[in-house]
């Protein structure tokens, strides 16, 4: 935010974009000709993953030792969220029988996306790389596309595990329809196969980015007008938007996870 203060009305838009985009390579790194440079979003993913793993491993320490542990305190709160994903997302979509098989993937989606969404809301992380670049890794389409591609392949894997290689592809279209219908249906189903991960990608990235752009745009008049009253109004409005963003962070993590789980469930239960 401090950087924006030096901006003029001409480049305030650039400043906003710079603030959400994955700018500036922090450590240049290349392997087999592929640019694997560490950017701010890579750092943010690592922080999110590290934090999530520490918290989750700490919260589940009892569960690795006992067969029927009694949770308390933080473990209880964590278990509540895990059980929410289990009973609210997994059981209705993939079915009770497959929870143990697909639970780890779906839960990793939910908790990692949620952590990345939340970390993006904490202004403290702006200080990494001297305020350059966005902090919300899930606001970057490369990150969401990667996760959506995992879903894309896992849908296929789930179908093949359940029905075998050929049956899975046959299951994409419902059987017993007139031949002419298939001429339309097959391209539509193939298209929808690719549209699903694309929609997942755009929905999450756009939602996470939009909130930040809105907040920055509301802050911008402070630096453009240098007016204390505008400052009060901007801050008040952004406090409200921050609360909204907390909800959006949870909802988008939930939506991405739920849809992934629904698609995997559809591949598993394709025959009914």
């Amino acid at each position: 935010m401090a950087e924006a203060g030096h901006g003029t009305s001409n480049n305030i838009g650039d400043k906003i974009i710079e603030h959400v985009a994955n700018s500036d390579v922090m450590i240049h790194f290349e392997l087999f000709g592929i640019d694997l440079s560490i950017t701010k979003h890579v750092i943010m993913i690592w922080i999110a993953a590290g934090l999530l793993m520490s918290v989750a491993l700490y919260a589940t320490r009892k569960y690795r030792k006992e067969e029927r542990p009694i949770p308390s305190g933080f473990t209880n709160a964590f278990e509540y969220v895990v059980d929410f994903v289990r009973t609210g997302i997994l059981i209705p979509t993939v079915g009770k029988k497959h929870v143990l098989k697909w639970g780890p993937l779906v839960m990793s989606f939910f908790f990692l996306i949620l952590t990345m969404n939340f970390l993006g809301l904490i202004p403290l992380f702006n200080y990494i790389n001297h305020g350059h670049g966005g902090t919300t890794a899930t606001g970057n389409i490369n990150v969401t596309a990667s996760l959506a591609l995992v879903t894309f392949f896992m849908i296929i894997v789930a179908g093949i595990i359940e029905h075998g290689f050929f049956k899975h592809w046959k299951n994409l279209v419902p059987g017993g329809l007139p031949k002419a219908v298939y001429i339309i249906l097959i391209p539509i189903e193939i298209l929808s196969m690719f549209v699903r991960p694309f929609a997942l990608t755009m929905r999450l990235a756009a939602n996470m980015t939009a909130g930040h752009i809105a907040m920055l745009a509301i802050f911008a008049p402070i630096f453009l007008l240098h007016n204390a009253y505008v400052g009060v109004a901007s801050v008040a409005l952004n406090v409200g938007i921050t609360f909204l963003e907390i909800i959006v962070s949870i909802v988008q993590a939930y939506v991405f996870t739920l849809l992934s789980s629904v698609f995997i469930g559809q591949a598993i239960h394709a025959d009914h």
């Binding site: 985009a21 994955n22 999530l52 919260a59 589940t60 569960y63 690795r64 067969e67 029927r68 990793s108």
Partner: protein, 164 residues
């Protein structure tokens, strides 16, 4: 200006790598143990509830049987008491009857004995009277008694006797 939609292979590879690590580490160490624990607990609660329900039904059954048994025992006890009372009543009546009969018999016996004794006493008295009369007659006759007197005396004596 950075394009929001720019393609970044490196970031994608890092995302996959990080996600894979999270998936493997948390999948084996956190999510699976937790899902298993939740399922175990669910099953345990369901089984416990089922067991409690079964135990309740069993207890109800046992209580019913017990009540039935108590009722039966009470009925039996009442029957025993009733039959005991009846027996006692009958025995009482028997004893009374017997006693009455016995007393009647005794009375009868006493009466007949008395009658016999009376008859005997009377006949004794009669013979004694006859004797006394004879003696008296002898004495009177020995002094100066006319045959008329004698006859009259005998008649009188007989009349007297007849009255008794």
């Amino acid at each position: 200006m950075e394009n929001l939609l720019s393609f970044d292979t490196g970031l994608m590879i890092w995302t996959w790598l990080t996600f894979a690590i999270v998936l493997v580490v948390l999948g084996t160490k956190a999510w699976k143990p937790m899902i298993k624990a939740l399922e175990n607990r669910e099953n345990f609660i369901r089984e416990s509830l089922d067991e409690a329900e079964a135990a309740r039904l069993e207890a109800d059954k046992v209580a019913g049987e017990y009540e039935e048994m108590v009722a039966k025992a009470r009925q039996e006890a009442q029957q025993i008491v009733a039959s005991g009372k009846e027996t006692a009543e009958r025995m009482k009546a028997d004893i009374l009857n017997e006693a009455q009969e016995k007393s009647k018999a005794l009375l009868k016996q006493a009466e007949s004995q008395i009658a016999t004794e009376k008859d005997k006493a009377l006949s004794d008295i009669r013979s004694q009277i006859v004797d006394i009369s004879m003696i008296a007659a002898e004495k009177i006759i020995s002094r100066s008694i006319t045959p008329d007197d004698n006859e009259r005396l005998i008649d009188d004596a007989l009349k007297e006797y007849g009255k008794n």
